[in-house]
Structure formats: C-alpha cells, structure tokens
Amino acid sequence: MAEMTIKKKRPKNLDLMTIRLPLPGILSILHRVSGAVLFLLLPVFLWLFESSIIHRDSFVTFKSYAANPLLKVVMLGLIWFYLHHFCAGIRYLLLDLHKGIDLESARLSSKIVFAVSITLTLIIGVRVLW
C-alpha cells in the first residue's frame, strides 16, 4: 500500500526527443558512458600494459603506432574519458559531502569539470603524444 503511494508520486518523462539535458545532466551521462567504455576496453589496456612492459619489440611497435594521427585522436579521446570520469567523480565526492548542492553551484561546478578535464587532456595528450 505504501509502495503504491510512493510509486504514484514519481513523475516520469522518457520521451528522449523532448528532454534537453542541462550541463550537469550531460556531465552525468558522460560519467556513465566513459566508465562503461573504459570498462569494455580493460582487456585491451591490460594487454597493452603487459606487452609494453615485458617485450621491448612491443614497446617500440606501440610507440610507432602512436605516431598515427587517427590513433592519436582515439587516444586523446580515451585520455579525456579517463579525466572526465576523474573530475566528474571528484565533483560527486564533494556533492556527497553536501558541498555545492544548490542549483547555481552545481551548474558552476559542472562547467569547471568540463574546463579542467579538457585542459588536462590537452596538456597530458600533447606531452604524451607529441
């Protein structure tokens, strides 16, 4: 009975075409998408780690692959996924501590997350890939 009343109160809008996500919403779904993609690529990362650290030939081969412009873009994207997950995660930890939970601060902090993660991606990406 109590369960019924709880369920009734919840508004629902699942028409994806009418939903315009605000920035914290975009940050949130990207947190999930980046986490899922990084999870799916775990065997690739482990294989790259293993080969590069155990076989000199593999290290040299991977280094030469890193010169490919298309792979550079892919790697830059993956670095950004990691850093977005990292920065958005720190924002969530602060929200857990009830820091910045009002609408205005939450919007500002989501802007900061995008600015910091993209800047760090460029700094680290350029140092690693160029």
């Binding site: 899922a36 990084l38 999870f39 775990l42 482990l46 293993e50 650290i53 155990i54 290290f59 930890l93």
Partner: protein
C-alpha cells in the same frame, strides 16, 4: 507474508562506500603515477619498466588495479540493474562481468610480478 518496502533501508550502503573509497585510491594513484612518469620518463622501454620497478610502485599499481576492478564491478552492475529488466539476462551479465573482473585481477598480478 512480509510486506517490505525496498526504500529507506541501508541496502547497498556498503557498495556505495566502497565505490567512493576505491575512487579515492585511484585518484591518488593517478597523481602518483603522473608525477613518477614525469620524473622517470617513459620514452624508452627501460624508463617505462623503471616506472614500476620498485616495490612501492608494484604494490601501488596492484592496489590501483584491484580498486579499479571493484569500482568497475559496482558501476557496471548498476548499469545492468538500470537498463536490463529480464532477471535471467541481468544475472547472466552480472556473472560475466564478475568473472571477467576476477580474471583481470589475476592477470594484473601476473603482469606486475613477472616483469
């Protein structure tokens, strides 16, 4: 018959805490790793191996991997619970996820102590 409402209790609190604890461990490791790479460098095979050569980095890297796999378990399990409604399929995906992550943990240990 027991009529329970599955809200308001602390179901999942343990995982909630572990998800955050593992996140903090990984965040600290990320900083340590970046600092170490910027000192030791990773431009040659020897330098790259050198990043993980000492006992502390081996342990820290292993701790990072274990945190990562537990963190991934909670996150991916949440994704299955959110989007996959048939119980059988959901259970199958959860088992596959857990099985893969346990395998990765063994693989990571083997990489670190074989090098």
């Amino acid at each position: 018959m027991v009529n329970r409402i599955l809200v308001g209790a602390h179901y999942g609190l343990k995982d909630w805490v572990i998800q955050r604890a593992t996140a903090i461990i990984m965040a600290l490791y990320t900083v340590i790793f970046l600092v170490r790479v910027s000192i030791v460098g990773a431009n040659s095979f020897e330098a790259w191996r050198g990043v993980f050569a000492n006992g502390f980095m081996k342990y820290a890297t292993f701790l990072f991997f274990v945190s990562l796999f537990y963190h991934a378990w909670i996150g991916i399990r949440d994704i299955w619970m959110d989007y996959i409604k048939p119980d059988g399929v959901r259970l199958l995906l959860m088992i596959a996820t857990a099985a893969a992550l346990v395998g990765y943990a063994g693989w990571a240990a083997q990489i670190l102590w074989r090098m």
